[in-house]
Symmetry: C2
Subunit: 190 residues, 2 copies
């Protein structure tokens, strides 16, 4: 057997939690693969809030959604995921089933634009208040470059300090690879 | 959703790799729950080598197998899993699909009898040579007591040094719990 790699395992987790009509967040649209996956999972009656600080990323995300005829349920915002609370419909607060943040740089994009640790912690903190009970926040962290290393340690420390009476926090990591590959922090709200 | 806890996740991994007729190893029978699970998974045409250093553990394992009419495919040995290579049918070398070791003490049993780190590393090393390509070794490590802490660190260091061209090594751990709960090291042979 092959143990489920990082990207497929995020999909397995999302499949376990999502149903039609759910409210979801893609904190870092990147090339839009996760955004499209969320859009299909929640369907036309659901909602996906998508964020990215790179205009190119949002454009390719929008194109991908358009090609798949999945734009109707997606709200794209050209801003950091730290703004999620400002953008969101107030009635969706506390109703989010799943959110996914890829903390790092846009694959194939401008590697000088990275997510900022302080903004990330604020966004993670906000996210946890937005989740419904049983909702899931998936963080894919990239410790393989210097800023990513700092960010991954800050986020992992933060997550490991969350109260176990309020959250489950799972770390899913391949530990024998060189170049510090990405790993998953999955936070489920009780 | 509830993220899959340690015991259920070991079962998920075993279900993914096992089919009827497979050769398997339970390195630490304990109360026999895993032994019975393996026995049912591989069926009468398969094989389960079961080990425990506590006689009581083997007796309750045997009783559990007997009650479920699953003794035929199980070879129980009252010895450390470090002896696995001596006990095994030579034709099964390199044919093992899955092995599971609970590194710690028998739940509810004599807590002064723990697995020894040196024996554990030897057994893990041996196990990796016994696995077939695609075979899986699951280590459930218990860092919550002093000997377990030392053992878990030794085993985790060992596993993280395995070559990524030969093995995938996954660590599956809940990181926000007090009292250092057990975690999984899953080693898949390429």
């Amino acid at each position: 057997m092959t143990l489920e790699r990082i990207l497929p395992f995020t999909r397995t987790l999302l499949n376990d939690v999502l149903t039609e009509g759910d409210v979801t967040i893609d904190g870092t649209c990147g090339n839009g693969h996760d955004t499209l996956f969320l859009a299909k999972s929640v369907g036309k009656t659901g909602k996906v809030y998508g964020f990215d600080i790179q205009k190119d990323a949002l454009e390719s995300t929008y194109q991908r959604l358009l090609d798949a005829e999945q734009t109707a349920q997606v709200i794209l915002t050209h801003a950091s995921h730290a703004t999620v609370k400002d953008v969101m419909d107030p009635e969706d607060i506390g109703r989010v089933s799943a959110a996914i943040f890829n903390l790092g740089y846009l694959p194939g994009g401008d590697k000088s634009i990275v997510t900022k640790p302080e903004e990330t912690l604020q966004a993670v903190t906000d996210m946890l208040t937005l989740l419904r009970s049983g909702g899931l926040l998936i963080l894919v962290v990239y410790p393989g470059h210097p800023e990513g290393k700092i960010e991954s340690e800050m986020v992992t420390d933060f997550a490991s300090d969350l109260s176990q009476s309020d959250f489950q926090v799972l770390k899913y990591q391949f530990i024998n690879q060189i170049n510090e590959p990405p790993y998953i922090l999955a936070i489920s709200k009780k």
